[in-house]
């Protein structure tokens, strides 16, 4: 028996996956509907379709858009053979349990263990793959709060939103607070442009996050869970609502979970700003201490954890002692990366820390599109840095990237080729940041604007070498003197591009843009 599975996240739907699924339903006829899952992460090849043969053999097809190829697929599933047309769309044919080794070679899919494989609207699918087993065991009295906490601490799990703070310690601080009301907030704001890891987990495996929240609540004594999701993710919101209702119906919620939608503010990814947003206010950060674990939402002890962090928890507890064996130096476990830009296999990958940038981009990501050369990888979003060719052999881990003026961040990795102008990229991020600065502190509010003006002098072709010195000095000041993470990390793209691509800034002073991107419209009009 061959079962068809169509992977359908936001990207898949946009690439035509829903139309393909509907057409396949029509071809199959009767009441049969193909199984619809969400994003499996091979975004560059959407719409993608899996065929499961008795859970013994799997076929993975890519670019399944045209009616003719869907008709071929239908014939194949009905018992036919793989025709030549279909073979051209075949990316994997082999044993059921070997697909990860082949299709996702080099990866270790823990957070992404279920996405694309399960119907996110069916709690039974999640349970059939071991979901909620840990929670059930906890409720059956198998583990104490301290036992669970020790496993999480030992795992070395660090906040995957970018902060990298040890999750176990965060939970421990919350656990110690004496309060009748405590909150676990799942930060699903995913504000970094170019990051879509959390979206895929929320759309494809929402219960992994719900279970993570419940386990966190058990350990810390939290009384309520809140998921703060960005408004730009309507499908994720819808999927979560259904999942929460189902979890409730199946009695899987120790504490109630509420969804709060973001309203379009990057700064609300910062914990104190996020809290203010949940409280219905302007999302403006505040000074810390007090840290949210002590005084957070509505003044009560609160932990804010990222989607990826929470989705890792059920796996970590189902495999005690295993997570810490994966990784590098002080960065244990895995990280999901969203590969985009000029890369062949754009999409979501999950790799153990210690994987090098070269392995990530070339081995797993398939290298650069077309006949172009690799120039840089922007990693960590607006808070991150641009790393050049000479950095490709660096192992990915929190401390190593920080030493090299970049950050792991949320996991967005945009690959650039020789036609990208690094000054333009720095300006792009600063344009974004000036729009998102909340305005509270002077160095960020005014400083980022001045930095943008300076960068524009470069892209307009009217900058001097003195401007470069001023740019660098001001960038350092904004970094050191801003109130919150937004302002403190906003200068990173500037500082890293000056560090690795200083020549490009100097070339702009001379009126040359090596990528031929900047038009220097104002240069000839200089007095």
């Amino acid at each position: 028996m061959r079962e068809i599975i169509v992977t359908m996240g936001t990207c898949g739907i946009s690439a035509g996956a829903k139309d393909s699924a509907d057409y396949l339903d029509k071809l199959l006829g009767g009441e049969t509907k193909v199984k619809r899952t969400a994003c499996i992460g091979l975004c560059a090849f959407e719409p993608t379709v899996l065929v499961n043969e008795d859970s013994k053999k799997l076929y993975f097809f890519i670019n399944m858009k045209d009616k003719e190829i869907l008709e071929s697929l239908n014939s194949f599933v009905a018992g036919g053979n793989l025709d030549s047309a279909l073979k051209e769309h075949l990316m994997y044919e082999g044993p059921y349990d070997k697909i990860n080794e082949v299709l996702f070679k080099g990866q270790k899919r823990i957070v992404l263990r279920n996405a694309g494989w399960i119907d996110p609207y069916k709690i039974e699918d999640y349970i059939a793959r071991g979901g909620y087993k840990v929670l059930d065991d906890i409720r059956a009295g198998k583990y104490t709060q301290d036992t669970v906490l020790e496993v999480v601490k030992a795992s070395g799990l660090r906040g995957r939103g970018g902060g990298g703070f040890p999750t176990g310690i965060k939970w421990e601080i919350l656990k110690k607070q004496d309060s009748s009301e405590k909150f676990i907030i799942c930060n699903a704001d995913e504000g970094d442009p170019g990051a879509f890891m959390d979206r895929a987990v929320l759309e494809g495996d929402p219960h992994s996050v719900l279970e993570g929240i419940q386990i966190a609540a058990y350990v810390t004594g939290a009384t309520k869970g809140i998921i703060y999701v960005r408004a730009e993710y309507p499908l994720a919101i819808k999927t979560l609502r259904v999942a929460i209702a189902m979890a409730n119906k199946h009695n899987k919620l120790l504490v109630p979970i509420e969804i709060k939608e973001g309203a379009g503010a990057f700064v609300c990814g910062e914990e104190t700003a996020l809290i203010h947003s949940v409280e219905g206010k302007r999302g403006m950060p505040r000074k810390r201490p007090p840290y949210p674990a002590v005084k957070g939402l509505y003044g009560q002890p609160t932990n804010i954890n990222n989607v990826e962090t929470l989705a890792s928890i059920p796996w970590i507890l189902a495999h005690p002692g295993e997570y810490e064996k994966i990784g590098y130096a002080k960065s244990r476990g895995t990280k999901v990366f969203a590969l985009a830009g000029k890369i062949v296999k754009g999409g979501l990958v999950e790799v153990p820390f210690g994987t090098t940038l070269r392995e990530l981009i070339f081995d797993i990501g398939g290298g650069i599109e077309g006949d172009k050369e690799f120039k840089a990888v922007q990693i960590g979003g607006p808070s991150g840095g641009c790393l050049p060719k000479s950095s490709l052999d660096l192992p990915i881990d929190y401390e190593t990237l920080k030493e090299h003026s970049a950050i792991v961040g949320s996991g967005g990795a945009i690959v650039m080729d020789e036609i990208s102008c690094m000054v333009d990229i720095a300006k792009f991020f600063m344009t974004f940041i000036t729009g998102e600065s909340c305005g509270k502190c002077t160095y960020c509010r005014v400083g980022t604007r001045r930095l943008l003006e300076l960068l524009t002098r470069f892209t307009d072709g009217i900058a001097t070498e003195q401007d470069l010195t001023m740019l660098e000095n001001l960038a350092v000041k904004v970094k050191n003197l801003s109130l919150c993470g937004l302002g403190q990390t906003a200068p990173n793209p500037i500082l890293s591009t000056i560090k690795y691509f200083r020549e490009e800034y100097l070339a702009h002073v001379r009126g040359v843009c090596v990528a031929k991107k900047c038009s220097f419209s104002k240069r000839d009009k200089r007095v």
Binding site: T10, C11, I13, S14, A15, C43, A44, E46, E181, E190, G191, D192, P193, G194, A195, F196, R199, A231, E232, Y233, P234, K260, E261, G262, A263, G264, A265, F266, S277, V278, E279, G280, K281, R282, G283, L297, Y298, A338, A340, G341, K342, G346, G347, Q378, G381, G412, I414, M416, S420, I425, F428, F429, F432, E436, C438
Partner: protein, 140 residues
């Protein structure tokens, strides 16, 4: 405190944005009375978040994604060309006949399909100016 009506302010504004396409001054006045918060405070929240518009929206909404991957794929040129085609600029985002509003959005999270636009809620990947204009005109 949890449970206070004011903690629902953003949700109430979102519902109104969804229903009317923008947050009007009369709505702010009404809400101020209901929640017992000043109009200034509500205005402060409404202007803080990118999701809320204070001016009427066109019948159709086109959002051009300006995320990093889309930027690298040329989204700024797409945005500029579309705005120019419909006679819009930084100060004017809705056509005079109120048919179309063009906005930019920070990131839709569909980076592999860059450049991305969202037309009336539908995500369109690998967008080209000609294709988008055609789709918009088909809506007339």
């Amino acid at each position: 405190m949890e449970g206070q009506l004011s903690s629902n302010l953003i949700k109430l504004l979102q519902d109104e944005q969804e229903k009317q396409g923008y947050i009007g001054t009369s709505f702010i006045k009404e809400l101020s009375k209901k929640l017992n918060i000043s109009e200034a405070e509500i205005y402060g929240v409404a202007t803080f978040y990118a999701q809320f518009r204070l001016k009427e929206q066109g019948l159709h909404l086109l959002r051009v994604c300006r995320g990093t991957a889309c930027h690298v794929a040329g989204s700024i040129s797409i945005l500029e060309q579309l705005k120019s085609h419909y006679g819009l600029d930084e100060n004017k985002d809705t056509t005079d006949d109120k048919f179309l509003t063009i906005e930019s959005v920070a990131c839709v999270g569909a980076c592999s399909l860059a450049p991305v636009v969202v037309l009336d809620g539908k995500v369109i990947g690998k967008a080209s100016v000609e294709d988008i204009i055609q789709r918009i005109e088909e809506l007339r």
